[in-house]
């Protein structure tokens, strides 16, 4: 019989994320599952290999909190603001192993992992010094043109955490707006934790199967976590909290300062609900957009 997949974030992280795991918290700017990262910090997971094209603030916080052994990435910065200071410091001090690719390379690695192909070919990396410092970037010869084509190896996380706007209780999920690498990261992983702004009735998801990028079939846990992505955003739910991204520059300049921030906003709360209780209402309200609905489409009923 079908197992109940709906559970708390605490239970999902506790059961599905293990010390030493390779984890992928997905999201290109959009839908980054901050609440899940904070739960991983609270549960003091250790020796994780953190993978994502754009590590963003959440990986910076996880590195600062001592969760990570290694970072696999393509661009480690605070978009539009500056650097990720904890990550940069850990790398410069040799405390964090890194493995880096290009953006296309990272997404190609996920494509390979998601489709169970050991490698993926891409026209990039040629002439760059990246292959000289990352021996996992290799080459094949095209059997039609004789050209040398760079390839990257499949990335298969032990667990991927994917945040979505809405899902049903089985884990069938609708995502819209920037869809980044969510689908590929989900299919590439052995285990999938799905966090959703809303768990909705089955018929809402079933009304638009083309929008179901993540099928329940590959999902192990479904967790309803409103505002899971803050300070990242959820298109149609809340805006990106750019102000926080700018403030983080100050917060993270001094490790002690960041440590205090973690005490207050991560260790000092039990879950995202308590985190949201601490945020001032006006800040949250300022992140509400105006409604802008898609025109529906007619799937028809043919009997």
């Amino acid at each position: 019989m079908k197992q109940a997949k709906v559970m708390s974030l605490g239970k999902a992280v506790s059961e599905l994320v293990h010390d030493g795991d390779t984890v992928y918290l997905a999201g290109f700017t959009h839908l980054i599952p901050f609440a899940a990262g904070h739960e991983i910090i609270r549960q003091q997971k250790r020796n994780l290999t953190l993978c994502r094209a754009t590590p963003d603030l959440i990986y910076d916080q996880m590195v600062a909190a001592g969760c990570a052994r290694k970072l696999v990435f393509s661009w480690a910065g605070n978009p539009g603001v500056g650097l990720l200071r904890s990550i940069r410091k850990a790398v410069e001090q040799g405390e964090l192993e890194i493995e880096e690719y290009t953006h296309y390379g990272m997404t190609a690695r996920l494509m390979a992992g998601a489709t169970n192909m050991p490698f993926y070919p891409l026209i990039s990396n040629l002439g760059s010094d990246l292959p000289s410092v990352n021996k996992e970037i290799r080459y094949v010869t095209c059997p039609y043109t004789g050209k040398r084509i760079s390839v990257v190896p499949a990335l298969k996380p032990d667990v991927s955490i994917i945040h979505v706007q809405r899902a049903d209780r089985h884990g069938n999920a609708h995502i819209w707006g920037i869809v980044g690498e969510q689908k590929e990261a989900a299919f590439a992983a052995s285990r999938v934790i799905l966090t959703a702004e809303e768990i909705v009735p089955d018929e809402v998801i079933a009304s638009d199967p083309n929008r179901t990028l993540i099928p329940g079939m590959i999902v192990d846990a479904v967790v309803e976590v409103p505002w899971c992505a803050h300070p990242s955003y959820a298109q149609g739910y809340y805006d990106r909290d750019n102000q926080f991204y700018i403030e983080y520059e100050e917060i993270s300049k001094d490790p002690e300062n960041l440590s205090k921030w973690l005490d207050t906003w991560v260790y000092g709360v039990t879950d995202r609900r308590e985190y949201m209780e601490r945020l001032p209402a006006d800040r949250v309200l300022a992140l509400q957009g105006r409604r802008r609905y898609s025109y529906p489409v007619d799937y028809g009923y043919y009997a």
């Binding site: 290109f28 700017t29 959009h30 094209a53 754009t54 990435f73 393509s74 661009w75 480690a76 910065g77 978009p79 539009g80 603001v81 650097l83 940069r88 790398v91 410069e92 880096e100 690719y101 290009t102 953006h103 296309y104 390379g105 997404t107 190609a108 996920l110 494509m111 891409l122 026209i123 990039s124 990396n125 040629l126 002439g127 760059s128 010094d129 990246l130 410092v133 050209k147 040398r148 819209w176 707006g177 920037i178 869809v179 980044g180 690498e181 689908k183 590929e184 955003y233 298109q235 805006d239 990106r240 750019n242 991204y245 700018i246 957009g289 802008r292």
Partner: protein
């Protein structure tokens, strides 16, 4: 006329865009340049973001490349894989804008480390899509402050290939396209037939000696060196009133 270096750079970049160009664009000055061109001579320029947004019509100035304002009302939104594979590698991108910590004599770009890779003096953000764009866009435009340490003879690390040691070396790898134009706060640089950078234009008030002194090698100067035309009133009005009213990118000196 009164304008900042950043405004000069943005206006110069905007004028180089042709109507219909498909531009892979980042945040900041490139974003302003494309939006300025769209409001003037090139209304049908396509803005493509590596976040997977095609034909963005932003209602505000985005801080990040994945801002929600880029999505609403856009032409199309696809996955990150798709934007690299179906657009960039497919050959649909005419111009890619890149920034970097360093650009060298042959247009190679560094955004990875200053110093050695293993023991960096400074660890930078890394390639992101830059290496991919440098391999695959038909033309690469670079916007960069003109300083000796940022225009060294050879970059510390080739994140993104320009002409490598010259046009022939790039071609031998099967790569087409490549470096086209560098716009700094002092002038405009292009590439000669060997793939070496050459100064083709200096901004008003800048001297050639000043440019040479700010470049890390003996920079070639075009025999037909021009003075870059200044921003006009309409360009400045659009930039200041419509595109960056709070002066985030254009307010002070070069970003």
């Amino acid at each position: 006329m009164n304008y900042t270096s950043a405004e000069m750079m943005v206006v110069t970049a905007a004028r180089m865009l042709k109507n219909g160009d498909r531009v892979f664009v980042g945040i900041g000055m490139p974003n302003l340049a494309v939006n300025l061109a769209k409001r003037l001579h090139a209304p049908d320029v396509h803005m493509i973001f590596e976040a997977g947004v095609i034909g963005a019509k932003p209602s505000r100035l985005p801080l990040s490349i994945g801002d929600p304002c880029l999505v609403t009302g856009a032409g199309s939104v696809c996955s990150m894989f798709d934007v690299f594979a179906f657009y960039l590698q497919r050959g649909l991108i005419d111009i890619g804008f890149l920034g970097a910590a360093q650009v060298d004599r042959f247009g190679n770009l560094n955004s990875t480390v200053i110093g050695s890779y293993e023991r960096p003096k400074a660890r930078l953000a890394g390639s992101g899509g830059a290496c991919d764009i440098a391999c695959l866009a038909k033309k690469v435009f670079v916007l960069i402050p003109h300083e000796k340490r940022r225009l060294p003879e050879k970059v510390d690390f080739i994140t993104s290939p320009g002409f490598l040691g010259g046009r022939a070396e790039r071609s031998s790898l099967g790569l087409e396209g490549g470096p086209d134009t560098v716009i700094t706060n002092k002038g405009v640089l292009r590439y000669d037939e060997t793939g070496e950078m050459i100064l083709t234009s200096i901004h008003p008030g800048v001297t050639v000696d000043e440019v040479l002194a700010s470049t890390g090698w003996a920079l070639k100067v075009s025999s037909t060196l021009e003075i870059t035309p200044e921003p006009n009133d309409e360009e400045l009005r659009i930039l200041r009133e419509e595109l960056d009213p709070t002066g985030v990118y254009l307010g002070g000196a070069v970003v």
